[in-house]
Amino acid sequence: MDLVTRLLVSDRRALAQAISLVEAGDPGSRVILRQVYPHTGQAQIVGVTGAPGTGKSTLVSALVREFRQRDRSVAIVAVDPSSPFTGGALLGDRIRMQDLAGDPGVFIRSMASRGHLGGLAQATSDVLKLMDAAGFSLVIVETVGAGQSEVEVAGAAHTTIVLDVPGMGDDIQAIKAGILEIADILVVNKADLPGADRRIAQLEAMLHMGEYPDGWRPPVLRTVAVRDQGLSILADTIEKHWTFLRTGGRLEAFYRRQAEQEFDAALRDEAMRVLRERVLDPERHTALVERICGRELDPYSAASKVLAGMRG
């Protein structure tokens, strides 16, 4: 059996190998994604994001245990940053997920961001598709430790959970644009620490100022992930959000938006590839960079020049 056939019947080894190919941008990965694509769109994809140290991995681990009790199979992709200097990475999310080891209904993959900004790796959304096609009913994506603008996960996941902890800032931080805005569910983790009530009140006050024309007002939940507290309510809320999305054409709208974004991104990649192949070989590219660098040519005129070659 070939790789894709094995992947579609949940062969874990095939899934692992397909992920590596997609991650490396291997020429064969296009074929894999083409064959897998019709089988996607089944799983609920849940994103978990938050600042470093807010407890994302621990929460994911506890949440997966909760979903396993509900007989859901779960795949996890956990993204950690690559070094901007060496390109190496230390992927440590598995440490917190040790007690999931040996469960055949759980698949965990660590992924380095490889220089991609936005909270995910370049290939993360394709990896989510592979996990979806492999038949997992729930796919969880954990972002790198996020700052204020790592909001990419919201486009990749149906349900975005933003983790916060007591002591993370005042009410002005809470009304800034960015990460808090993308939450479908807000979680104050480590809620046994002092300041939890205050933080929850600040987040509630922030939400009170907002409007929710689509009908979903993000709830603020409290958890203590290391002690398995609050996970059952969180899991219920995730399921509730999925039910919400599947009514009133919301899921269709989500997929439409996603299709548009992915199509545009693919077009950019493909256009770049064709340009490089036809009119912009590496020498010409370097030569133009030199001229731009020497202030003889500005970047926009250089780009027009290259594209004029395509038209002619």
Partner: protein
């Protein structure tokens, strides 16, 4: 994008000292590799399952407990049974000289004692890792 060397660094058995494993993990990271660190007290089954899910090229095992003659061959056996025989296995820790040869026969490609410079195992891994 070129294919990165992926390494699983794991501690089989019951000893609780992972400073060595962390130093090795850090040095492999600094050598440009992607290192998955799994933490303490891993069973052979957990290590092999993690290696296959992560599709790593190399497993680096750190063991100080003295149980290496039981645990390391077991890991190599499990890898062979599950189709992971092309994964390079290296080990470090407190391993007496007379155990080195039997461990190599069992499938551990290289064994490093305390004080090994990182350049040594980095070069070994680069040279012996499977070709994609």
């Amino acid at each position: 994008m070129e294919r990165k060397i992926r390494v699983l660094v794991a501690k089989p058995g019951l000893d609780g000292h992972d400073r060595g494993a962390k130093v090795v993990a850090r040095s492999l990271r600094d050598a440009g590799m992607e290192v998955v660190y799994t933490g303490l007290q891993q069973t052979p089954e957990m290590i092999v399952e993690a290696a296959l899910q992560e599709d790593v090229d190399v497993i680096g095992l750190s063991i100080l407990s003295g149980a290496h003659m039981t645990l390391l061959p077991r890991i190599c056996d499990l890898l062979r049974q599950q189709g992971g025989e092309d994964i390079l296995v290296v080990a470090g820790g407190i391993i007496p000289d007379e155990d080195v040869e039997p461990l190599q026969e069992a499938g551990v490609a290289a064994i490093y004692g305390p004080g090994t410079p990182s350049s040594e195992y980095v070069a070994f891994i680069r040279e012996h890792v499977r070709q994609a």
